[in-house]
Symmetry: D2
Subunit: 471 residues, 4 copies
């Protein structure tokens, strides 16, 4: 898309369209910076859909004849087929996908083709196409997020009881289960999907009929084209319709935030599969190896997912910079809106697919997780909570007592549950054998029964809820 | 907020709490990088609200006595009053607002204070407080956006017929009205408000009771605290509850996108009030002057609004960088989450207020706008559309004919409507006097009657719709 | 580039290289996310150069035979010719350009090819290639910046006396000349070129021989390969050599800052060529038009340049995000480093070329500039300075007096120099006719003779200095 | 700093300065968005220095009397003392530090004070002050980077032989030493310091005397003030002098890149001190603990350093957004330039100090590192290199053979050096006992003697070079 005028062409050979006014023609530099066809050809299908809806409406409103509308429809479907077959003669001199298709249409059907652009402009046309493309992309991404959620839920179900360390500061803090951990990501992804879905709803209004910027002086029916194209309504202000790109920024922000979540999971996969953790093993399908160290499995896909958040956040920043301080209505700056979103969506789909595959294949090592979960006096808080619950100690005092018990165990270089009850009583006389019952990681996890807690019973409830929700 | 442990203190003098384990104490650098009280004291009110809800619930569930709950409630309200009065003894050694308040509470009410932290942790506590703060901020910003919309609508109503040039590429394109232009921003702001409102709905779940990360081993009722605090529900996964910061990113993305819209309007105000445009004049209240050039009115506020989008987009990028690749659950990195949002919200409120004031006071110069709207053959497309509508020319041919007419007018250095009909007929014989009826900017605007178009009748419809909507 | 292992291949058909260890093979998703050949094939020439230098050095050090080195050299030059001719069989299964070339070499020359990778790894190889590519790009960009400086100097020379308004806040402030304005950009670009040149110097050290990360257990001579490839020295730490990507960030920061300068000039071109300013006219070659409004010249190239700063700043942000918190040494994340720089450099070259063309062709309208320069009491400060210089008034008092004179002129709706001397004397009795001599824009400009000032004599000095400097 | 006019004041009570022109006064919103004194008061010392230099020069050039210059100098030093003593009456109504100081000066010394602002403007004044502030900051940061380098060198010297695993993809790759690892950061920091030093050199030109934008109509000597203030030269174009802010972007880019390096080291500290690695232990001074898990040491400072790269990169993006597309010369947008740099520098100093402290105190655990270095057949490449060196196998074949040997060892679940020579001979008959001599991590490291390699002898050379360099 190039600018607000509906019928011009760049390039030395395109003087016919510019009416002979630009004697010099645009030179190579200008053509190179100006043409967008290499990028916007991805809009082709949506451009054809929008033109079909537009022509049908023009005929219904009596602006063009129904014969012309039929010829246009036939011609556009032929072009769609040509493009699908790789037989369409794309021309950089025609700058963008809109002019390429329209010029080809007129080539094919003559004068009727020259009537298609009545009551519209490239400004509303590109806005319509791009909203349709984005809507389709968001729908597809929503399904992919669901697929990743399902993969996580499957792992969660298999590992609802698999004890692993819960970390804070990458230090062992309290035991949780791998299933619980997976379900945390199911929650995050659910909000991510919600953001994309909200963005989808907000962008789903039709710019078509806003024309160059002021609306059209024809008795057109914008509701009709909106409905045909699946939009909830026509946009209510023609200037806004052609100059708004907040939907691109919102989509990119949504992708970026989800990509941050994926980067967190990717980082954990890198950690878990490192020999220093040994919590999990990647499948052959989702790791790369070495001919010389055949046991080695590099988490390349996880690392690439982790890296690609950069591209998405960068794309958001690009859009913000591009739109900052642009006066209404259309400015050529806005031609730079598509490449960042196209790239971000492509990358994002790849990330979701790779993550879904990795999680699906992930070979979890419960023993290694369990061993790590028991280190570092990870159940100290359970002991403190026991002191509160059973002996009625105030929380802060219970913590103080527990700290002294841990210190004693550390001095003896033993685990907390190995500390003789007598040694415990020396610190707090009311402690008895029952306290030992909260000191294993499995007992600790089982006790976390508050809503949303790590207890397997709670995790299974969440799994059931999600399975029903996702159908 | 510092980390996942619920009961520790930094600083050389705080060894009592660390149990004498850190012989060296934290030195000045550590204290400086670690303390957050200068930032997070803004959470004080929400921290107290959350503690009140928590204590009330603990008592209702039998975890603490109702006497203790009452003492806690009394103590917390006293502390709230102290803070409001500026009499609260903030201590950097106590690191954050949570420890400051809890330590003060215990100072005031003794052992009951030491029971407050039962079944919670600073991890769920800070998440709860910060969500409450953000929710409140988003609500306030929503109202401010509405105020700006009202100011724009008032101007739109006064100028529904005030013709001005619609620009593309900052070149005159087609006439619109100033009212139509204002309403474009009302639409943008409406989507902006929708984004903040969606963000608000999505963050409005309660982390409280997730404790450090695994949930609590007490029979607590998370629904009850959620309801008390106005949350829609408790968060369903304890790990997610303490480690999620997507709500901060989403809020910042929403602010940034709205700030981009404000920057576009700010840019236009700078342009309109420049002597080269002369479309409008800022009031004394929203411009600064010069003792030496007393007629000069600098649009400082508009420029500052335009600049401040940088701070907001920067804050979003800061949060993305901070959260990228952080393993679950809590990491100290997350302490850096509040300052960017606090600053962005403060700046954003200022921008909205200043923009509302500027728009409210803006002194529009209809004559200058009208003169500019008539320049540059801005109604050429109207003539082309007339040729299509009245003579049935195909759109592309109509444009070609019009181009030749404009060229003829340009050659004669006259306006299009000054071109003799004979000269028009020389180009296209079927043209007659009626064509002149579409060539004034006012006629052009009046003809743009498609839904959402620039025609005053359409603009007034939108004004009416919005006045009803905003109540 | 994929990872640290020097000899593996992905893809179902590549089990031979993975030694049959990965029974499943990498599936399509993995291949899609993993392969980089579509991006890194641009490194081909540099990869061949580095391999030539490496083989020559290995032979000189006795690690391989000189026959093998000769065979390798011959094979590599054949491959270079194949690539240049478009005849090279690129394979995605071989993942990256390094493996593509090496596999092809062995295909061509047999065992000698299998000796090339001795004492190196893909880790140091890709770092070397990418530094060479970046160095070449920075050199090229430096020349392009110079070309733009020359175009600006040419305009400055032609317009050293062309008075135009100097703006602050887009309000008329003080007269300057168009030549002076152009020279401001020459200065900015000079610092931009300095940044790229500093970046070039800093990156110009050779990673080759760092091998996977620890250096090589062969008697190699890293100084020799460094010298052959034009590096100032070998990098002094093998871990740093393979894991450093600060050179990419620095190059992108340098591009971004220069792009900000270009965006400022682009914005000014959009303003100057707007009908509301009318200060300049773009050539046919660097504007686009409309068949219907043939007089219209849209500054598309300027707008695209203004927009493209977004892509560059976004690329910088992407790199920062990608590198943030990556442990040493190589991580697959770093494969994402090339696409952002490649794109940014491509765009930047286009921007520089288009800006150079636009400036070279720019048709300046001195009368419009002069008229605008005289508006708005733009010489009020000159009068104040006269009061200081000639009457000895303190600066602040002189400003106060001038403010009253301007107010009087504004009341009478006349220019400052039209104010009768008597009216001036009424405000400050010591004013006489000489004061009128400073009130024209041309006089004002001529008086700004401090070093670097707007006076034509000063501007010509700077032009002369720059012409000598650029040769 | 507010705008280009040198002598105005905002605020309802400041009508005297605005000459009664702004009847309405600026309301609270305007004052809030407009005032910068809370931020720019940090420029006070530099503002005084610049005024001293300016007054001295004015007297030397005969523009003011030497009595006035003396009175000004005396008054300014009094003000400096007042500020240092906390006794200066800062006024928000006077907007910025420049007006605060000048107004106070006139209060103190009368008419001479009103002469100080001759031949300058707030535009060149703020640019001068801000460059001086930035220069000072960069010098200070350079020293802090050196301090961190020294701390790393000290650790490197102590651990030049301490074998640790070199990672790629966080998988064990090849053994290195902790000393070698530390020296990698010394190299990175050296380039970081170089960037700051280049930025310092580039910004070190004096804007003073550029006045509002056009230079001054007085016989001033800009070389003299430049020299007094330690600038290398006066800036050569007055428009550029007041509108350039690339120095802020360059400084922020430099900080950001160094912060990325710090984030990598911070990430490694988090990993090394995690119980899953156990490679190192933080001192009491640079970790925080828990009353309940007293053995726990949270790497809070490392995490905060890791997070703070976000603030710096965000500040860079803020500046890019702020400056994008700003027409020359001064725009109020530029008032937003100081807060991001001030905050980034403050944070950066804290990060450098905390990192220096952490590294200095770091308690390395050589046994844990050594154990990890031997895992995962980390010396497989050493065996392959032996096959190349001693048996003359082509590199790719040697890797293939080694892969089979590793597979055999893995099948037997033993280390490579535990594989009987007979088993080795079964794969490659020419292998003999000498091969075992390269299979220990220590032998592997010792063999990496190429320049910059991990061999202790090489590492010690680098340590010696750096100790001499840093003096």
């Amino acid at each position: 898309m190039t600018n607000d005028d509906t019928d011009k062409r760049a390039g030395k050979g395109a003087n016919a369209l510019w009416g002979g006014r630009f004697a010099g023609g645009a030179d190579d530099v200008m053509r190179a910076i100006n043409a967008s066809i290499d990028v916007d050809r991805r809009l082709a299908d949506h451009d054809i859909d929008a033109s079909l809806a537009h022509a049908q409406m023009l005929a219904a409103c009596g602006v063009i004849s129904s014969e012309d509308a039929k010829a246009i429809a036939k011609g556009l479907e032929d072009i769609r087929a040509e493009i699908a077959a790789g037989a369409f003669p794309f021309s950089a001199a025609l700058e963008d996908i809109h002019m390429n298709i329209e010029a080809r249409l007129t080539e094919k059907i003559g004068e009727a083709g020259a009537r298609l652009h009545t009551a519209r402009s490239r400004n509303d046309q590109v806005a319509t196409d791009f909203r349709l493309w984005t809507r389709t992309a968001l729908d597809r991404l929503g399904l992919q997020i669901e697929a990743l959620q399902r993969a996580l839920i499957t792992q969660a179900e298999a590992h609802a009881d698999t004890v692993m360390p819960g970390f804070t500061h990458l230090q062992t803090a309290q035991p949780v289960t791998f299933g619980h951990h997976c379900m945390a990501y199911v929650e995050m992804l659910s909000r991510d999907a919600g953001r994309l879905s909200d963005a989808r709803a907000r962008l789903n209004e039709s710019p078509l009929g806003a024309a160059a910027l002021a609306g059209a002086p024809y008795p057109i029916n914008r509701d009709m084209t909106a409905e045909t194209l699946g939009f909830a309504a026509p946009m209510a202000n023609s200037l806004d319709a052609v100059s708004a790109r907040d939907f691109v920024m919102e989509a990119l922000a949504g992708l970026t935030i989800c990509a941050v979540h994926l980067s967190r999971l990717a980082e954990e996969i890198v950690l878990w599969t490192s020999p220093r953790f040994g919590f999990a093993r990647l499948s052959d399908r989702f790791s790369t190896g070495s001919s010389i160290m055949p046991q080695k499995r590099n988490p390349d896909a996880a690392e690439l997912i982790r890296a690609k958040v950069g591209g998405m956040a960068g794309a958001f920043q690009s859009m913000v910079l591009m739109m900052k301080a642009l006066p209404l209505a259309y400015a050529k700056d806005m031609q730079e809106d598509k490449a960042p979103l196209f790239r971000a969506v492509d990358d994002f789909e790849l990330c979701l697919a790779a993550m879904t595959g990795m999680i699906g294949d992930l070979d979890v090592r419960p023993e290694a997780m369990a061993a790590a979960a028991g280190e570092g006096y990870s159940t100290a808080t359970d002991l403190a909570d026991w002191l509160v619950r059973e002996l009625g100690l105030p929380f802060r005092e219970a913590h103080h007592v527990t700290g002294r018990l841990v210190a004693e165990a550390e001095r003896r270089d033993i685990a907390l549950h190995e500390l003789p009850v007598e040694a415990m009583k020396a610190v707090e006389p009311r402690i008895d054998e029952r306290a030992l019952g909260v000191l294993s990681p499995a007992d600790s996890v089982a006790s976390r029964t508050s809503y949303g807690g790590a207890a397997p019973v709670r995790v299974r409830e969440q799994i059931a809820r999600w399975k029903e929700k996702l159908g």
